[in-house]
Symmetry: C2
Subunit: 158 residues, 2 copies
């Protein structure tokens, strides 16, 4: 258990230094509210560290590793169960990205209870707040876009 | 103590993800062998994390924090005692940069015993090996330069 905590503390430091806790809003008209909500915890490294990232992924049994076109390796934890497991274990040790981790947990909890367009709009606003913590630039799909779409489709009326 | 280990494990993860263990060879003709040997452990972050880096520096009482011209904050541990303290505590938890840490320790130990130009040349070769582990590019001052200078000054003869 203590050994486990040392591991999670290491991973928290690794994520704080060069990782990301984010949620993308992706237009997808096959979804009920017109957008896919795509949460992820990502570790970035040069392709020289490919072996190491793969080892961490394998040991944790969370997510998968991929090589981007620009030569950056990513260890991506994107499925809900894995994200939740990771956050629960790493939370006590996170420093820089603790706010994002807490917000991510709140958002995923709220997401599981969404009933209507209004709820979905609220969800997208929560994601805006998370992405503000990330100082994310070039973000095109935000709650304003979601609102416009939901209005157009008359999904916001009671 | 266990709490301490959790902190060092976190720092090891942080350093592995986005830090550096390196030694620069800097031409300086006021030094006995014509070069200054400048070791450092450095953590890099965006200036947005300035507060956090300063906090880590303060808590550890190691090194100092500076803002580079390009907006990158650095926490630099550069004096020998602090480097040795850091390496001793973080060593068990380092994964990616463990080789560099071990090599750094060896080099600093050898450096303290240097007697002549031959020793200094050997030192510079050890630094080349460390920098090979770092994949450092654009490195101009290496053991070849040191050899040329020592030869010219007749500092390599027995």
């Amino acid at each position: 258990m203590s050994q486990e905590n040392l591991k999670w503390s290491y991973l928290a430091g690794f994520l704080d230094a060069d990782g990301s806790i984010h949620i993308r809003i992706k237009p997808n008209r096959t979804y009920k509210f017109g957008f896919q909500i795509s949460p992820a915890i990502v570790f970035y490294q040069s392709v020289k560290q490919a072996k190491f990232l793969k080892k961490m992924q394998k040991e944790s049994k969370l997510g998968y590793v991929r090589l981007r076109n620009d030569g950056i390796m990513e260890w991506i934890i994107g499925d809900l169960n894995s994200i939740q497991k990771f956050l629960n274990r790493a939370m006590p040790f996170l420093k820089i990205k603790k706010k994002q981790a807490l917000k991510m947990k709140l958002i995923l909890k709220f997401k599981s209870k969404i009933k209507n367009g209004k709820d979905f709009l609220k969800l997208s606003k929560m994601i805006d707040e998370l992405e503000k913590l990330n100082y994310s630039k070039k973000r095109k799909n935000n709650s304003r876009k979601v609102r416009n779409y939901l209005k157009k489709k008359d999904l916001l009326s009671p």
